[in-house]
Amino acid sequence: MRPAVLTGEHYMTGDVACAEGALAAGCLFFGGYPITPATEVAERMAHRLPEIGGTYIQMEDEIAAMASIIGASCAGAKSMTSTSGPGFSLMMENLGLAVITETPCVVVNVQRAGPSTGLPTQGAQGDMMQARWGSHGDYEIIAMSPASAQEIFYLTIEAFNLAEKYRTPVLIMTDEVIGHMSERVIIPKAREIKTVERVKAKGRKDRFRPYAAGDLGVPPMANAGDGYKIHVTGLTHDEMGYPAMTVEAQYAMMDRLVGKIRNNVKDIIRYEEFMTEDADFIIISYGVSARTGWAAVEEARARGMKVGMLRLITVWPFAEDKIRELAARVKGMVTVEINLGQVHLEVERCVAGRVPVRLVGHPGGTLISPDTVIQTIKQEFGV
């Protein structure tokens, strides 16, 4: 029997590293449905969860998989599912249920080229806007995008920590290349891993108000079966959790739901700057495309071009302030992403015409080459 934290040096795929990150974060429930290129996440969890006393269930489809992790989380278990585009579409309805019921959970999307069944074994980043707006209604969501097997290990832990802290679903938006690529992954000792647990309900059980704002606007949570009176519904509800079909209830609930994310973006948003201090041109990228970006920056610098990169680690919520700040001091930007312009639209919105912004996109199935990025910067900005 192996422990939950597999301390040591490994050569593993991003999918396996994601599963190990979940276990290190304390995940004890996985409900899933296999799909290329995310199957290896489920496969690893199916092997590993029974070793540490957790539960793995293969559900009948992705709708049920998403429902199952909400249920497990309501019972107190840190829970996760993984999928790719077609399954992600099916999960959208219940993702909204997790948002409105404020149920912590982690959903991993190992993106492949779409639409529909597309290119099952080849990567893309075409679900980024679906991650933001795929479920109906207004809401805020947290989505993180790892650039290596090592990073997906840590970001999966972070995803669980943010899910618990803010009582929200958190998305890991990775892709086939990261999911199927093998690299060295170093897993630290268990005591070196920082995990966060949801704030639990306290006090008199008959007076508990399950949706009353606590610290950061997040209500403390009672496990089903703890004896607290709780009511969980997808309808607009009041602080007691009861359906309240009024404009005032909708306003108050949405104000807090959206506010708990928007008011804490400084705590949530993570990004990394690479050679931006003196840069004339900035690459904005995330996930596997940031690897194209790093290579492009290094090759551009070797040719005397002052290029830097802003790598979005948290894609949603969007690093608006940082992009506005960069737009005020550079000559141009390019967004590098394996889709035909999604996060790019957000970059354009934030730059608001201050400097020219161009897309280096691709419909999917392959990585974008660093040469294409350099060529675009040369042509579009006349360097």
């Binding site: 074994t121 199927h180 093998s182 690299e183 060295r184 690897r291 194209t292 290579a295 080459s369």
Partner: protein
């Protein structure tokens, strides 16, 4: 920065991805270099085109796709045809001689009957391990010790001995091929002098 780009290619079922994984893992965990392994295959589980791209480097590997291979190991004709013209002029081309016909290739290459040798050992599916031994001897992309240990750690329990035998066979074949070439080269030099 030393960087080595490797493509192992064949069809699904030959253990191409496992061969790539052994090389990548030996470089990473055994030789303590950086390494990435990309696996490319189609939706079918057997018979389709399949390739493993391995990059081994002293430094960080950003872009994980092979741009110009230093080493091509081809175990199918389709794979050979697809990648042979991309190999660096000073790079290595290795083939399974019963699976690949080089057809007018105007440069040096190294051939091994890996599938036939595996059949002689009683298991055709060990052709990939023989090829790994051959790559190790001819190109020294990874160290002998790290690669041998990784083979042992990567195959199903109970088959380690058999696979090490296959690895050694490929390695020895590579070494004797190199020796024969050295001899020939020095012989020629002697004749010219």
């Amino acid at each position: 920065m030393q960087k080595l780009e490797v493509i192992i290619t064949g069809f699904g079922g030959q253990g191409i991805v496992l061969a790539g994984r052994i090389l990548g893992q030996a470089a990473s965990l055994g030789d303590h270099k950086e390494s990435t392994l990309i696996q490319s295959y189609g939706p079918e589980s057997r018979g389709g085109a399949c390739s493993a791209q391995v990059i081994i480097s002293d430094g960080t590997i950003n872009y994980p796709y092979v741009r110009q291979p230093d080493i091509l190991a081809a175990m199918s004709q389709a794979g050979f045809d697809k990648f042979v013209n991309d190999v660096r002029p000073e790079g290595f081309i290795l083939i399974d001689q019963d699976m690949v016909k080089v057809k007018g290739l105007e440069r040096d290459y190294f051939a091994v009957p890996s599938t036939r040798m595996a059949e002689e050992l009683g298991r055709k599916m060990m052709a990939n391990i023989i090829m790994i031994g051959f790559i190790t001897a001819v190109t020294q992309s990874t160290s002998l010790e790290a690669t041998r240990q990784t083979v042992s750690a990567s195959v199903p329990k109970g088959t380690e001995e058999m696979n090490i035998k296959a690895f050694n066979k490929g390695y020895d074949y590579g070494l004797s091929l190199l020796k024969a070439r050295d001899k020939k080269a020095s012989g020629q030099a002697g004749a010219l002098a």
